[in-house]
């Protein structure tokens, strides 16, 4: 089924026939091939697909950290050629700076944001650390935090500067179920209140259905779009909602049918 019928004029992020290859040790790898996609302002887009289908690559391209080999990526009509403060990335591996404590890590992006006083920056950093449940850990250095805590600090760091576009690579994968369920609610709140555009990668179909306006299913070798699902459930959505579970089951079935052998980690 096609995406929302949308004219390109009001769509914010436009990918047209994007192809990206890597010349790695194992030869030329086509990470993504011929991807065309439009992400509208204020849309929550979720990318799912088996490991190695180019999800992280796609985020790097959107962030401007990598350049396309073919095709184009445009933000508000201008080519994306370099990283910018309007598109923050939360990386798959936690990229916290080991020489800064948790609060300073969250402040890093805020300090680069003009037009704020130092007090406002500190207040914002504390607010987001509190949101992810780490108010008491602001003086802790990354090595003193657990894997899940580090991921939560990274989440706070990417939310704090309040970017227009948020690119998140499996942000909840290392969290316990309870924290995760709470953050699903918080992310949706931030998303609707702040009118953000979010592109999120996940391996969890239920999470995808809970959060996304659209779920894009990618297939590997080379990474291509296989199918796009529109999720029209009302927000805020709860992960335990039966309607959501039914939809997730449908997508999982469709996915299994697409892939000759269902890949691990996709349920």
């Amino acid at each position: 089924m096609p995406a929302h019928p949308s004219s390109e004029s009001n769509s914010q992020l436009t990918l047209r026939n994007v192809t990206k290859r890597f010349n790695g040790r194992s030869g030329l790898v086509t990470a993504v091939e011929d991807i065309s996609l439009q992400v509208k302002e204020g849309e929550f887009l979720v990318l799912v697909g088996p490991s190695g289908c180019g999800k992280s690559t796609l985020l790097s391209l959107l962030a401007g950290l990598e350049q396309v080999d073919e095709g184009s990526i445009k933000l508000d009509g201008a080519n994306v050629v370099e990283p910018g403060r309007d598109r923050l990335v939360m990386f798959q591996q936690d990229a916290l700076f080991p020489w800064l404590d948790a609060l300073e890590n969250v402040l890093f992006g805020l300090r680069l944001k003009p037009g704020l006083t130092d007090a406002e920056r500190t207040e914002a950093a504390r607010y987001y650390l509190d949101l992810v449940g780490l108010a008491d850990k602001e003086k802790a250095h990354p090595h003193e935090l657990s894997g899940g805590m580090r991921q939560r600090v990274a989440l706070a760091r990417s939310l704090a500067p309040n970017p227009r576009v948020l690119l998140m690579d499996e942000p909840f994968s290392a969290l316990d179920a309870l924290t995760r369920d709470q953050l699903y609610g918080d992310i949706q709140k931030i998303f609707t209140q702040r009118k953000k555009t979010i592109v999120l990668v996940t391996h969890n179909i239920r999470e995808a259905v809970c959060l996304g306006d659209r779920v894009v299913l990618l297939s590997p070798n080379p990474g291509r779009i296989r199918q796009v699902f529109n999720i029209d459930l009302p927000r805020p959505r709860r992960i335990n909602d039966p309607a959501l579970a039914t939809l997730a089951a449908d997508i999982t079935t469709a996915l299994s049918a697409h892939l000759a052998e269902p890949k691990e980690g996709l349920v």
Binding site: S60, A63, G64, L65, E82, P83, G84, R85, R87, L88, V89, F91, Q93, A95, F97, P98, W99, L100, F108, G109, L112, K113, H141, P142, H143, E144, R157, P161
Partner: protein, 256 residues
Amino acid sequence: MKSPRALVPIVIGLLLLGGWEWFVRSGRVDDVLVPAPTQIGEWFWSALRDGSLASATWVTMRRLMLGFIIGAAIGIPVGALCARSSLARDTIGIMSLGLQTLPSVCWVPVAIIAFGQNEAAVLFVVVMGTVWAVVIAVQESVLSVQPLYLRAAMTMGSRGWHLWLRVIFPAALPGVISGLKQGWAFAWRSLMAAEIFVVILSGFGLGSLLHAGRELLRMDQVVGVMLVVVGVGLLADLIFFSPIERWLRRSRGLER
């Protein structure tokens, strides 16, 4: 646990000194060639009293500090430049790699011809001894900064000087510090070489004191100065480099 560990080297040291003292006093060796610890102690005491040891140490430390600071001040930015530009790396970087292996005594003849027997010659030798090791260490540690940190910082809007000062330099700091430590050791060695070979009228350093001891055939003075040289090196490590390295390891969770 702490006191026995500190006691062991003291006890063993005292035993060795006692054995040495006994060996020399028993008349088995000529005490002009092998002075007893007490003889060295006597020289040490008299050199302290007439102020010659303090003034020599002061002259040497001043040269070392100045040479080391100049060497580091040149080496750090040049190393950063080499990490940034492959042109600089292929020229200055390779030259530094080569010159780093050159024993610093080799700079003494160059310095004497270029500057004459003066303070500038000594300083030149110390700077040459320091700078290449620092350049190489800074270049290598900047090049091995995790790309993920740079990517993360760049998406948060960090560029140029901000990226260098807030991300690249802190990330490379452990490597830079060990490079400085190495530079310090090289500076110390080259300074001793310079002080022994460059005989200057102004400024009588520890190396000159060592040299004078040789000319007077005073083994007690020679050994005494050598001990002071060892002591200065050890002290620099204990009060300067070790605490910095320990702090770095602790704040990044690299402590074993």
